[in-house]
């Protein structure tokens, strides 16, 4: 079981009284705006949840795992997620199975 966009839209419909179309559009826009900001080279900071942080990585040596052939891994920009204090504390308290 995983939380999906459809589940999130359903909750907006039930909790906030948005109609189903509005709820679906809002969920789509939420992820699209975060993706656009990151794609425009902005960090995204959502207090209470966490920060999406962009990092530039320099080229480094790599290997094709199948052939063992050496190939450089090119310089690239990546997005990392740093959970906020509040989310970290809530998740730490989860005592479920070790994954």
């Amino acid at each position: 079981m995983a939380l999906t966009k459809a589940d999130m839209a359903e909750s907006l419909y039930e909790e906030l009284g948005l109609n189903k179309r509005e709820a679906k559009e809002l969920v789509e826009l939420f992820f699209e705006e975060v993706r656009m900001a990151l794609g425009d080279a902005n960090h995204v900071k959502l207090s209470g949840f966490g920060n999406f942080v962009l990092r530039d990585k320099t080229e480094r040596p790599g290997r094709n795992p199948k052939t063992g052939e050496e190939i450089p891994i090119s310089a690239r920009r990546v997005v990392t997620f740093r959970p906020g204090q509040k989310l970290k504390q809530r998740v730490e308290a989860y005592a479920g199975s070790q994954q």
Partner: protein, 106 residues
């Protein structure tokens, strides 16, 4: 080697404004409540051990950190730290590509 880019940040308030501008039939207050609800739903899912899967954006899951012994930095005493879960985000293909393309445009 990797370093944080020298970029500006979009904060939650700006995200709400941007969505509200595109959903002009909704009151700003409703968009604000909706964004807060979405973040709360995501936090709730993770803190009950549930994954989040958003196609084109990425997935959130929990990683387990086993118990280890650490030290109290003040006294130097050894303390045992219990195992815990930490949130982990894996960006989806589309997000990875858009982020990497932003470097090529600079």
């Amino acid at each position: 080697m990797s370093e944080e880019t020298n970029a500006r940040s979009m904060m939650k308030s700006e995200l709400i404004e941007r969505i509200a501008r595109k959903q002009s039939h909704l009151a700003y207050k409703d968009v604000e409540l909706a964004v807060k609800s979405l973040l709360e739903q995501m936090s709730n899912a993770l803190s009950s051990g549930e994954r989040i899967e958003i196609r084109g954006f990425g997935s959130f899951s929990l990683h387990y950190r086993p118990p280890r012994s650490g030290r109290n930095p003040k006294t130097g005493d050894s303390v045992s730290l219990p195992g815990k879960h930490v949130p982990h985000f894996k960006p989806g293909k589309e997000l990875r590509e858009r982020v990497n393309d932003s470097m090529k445009k600079e």
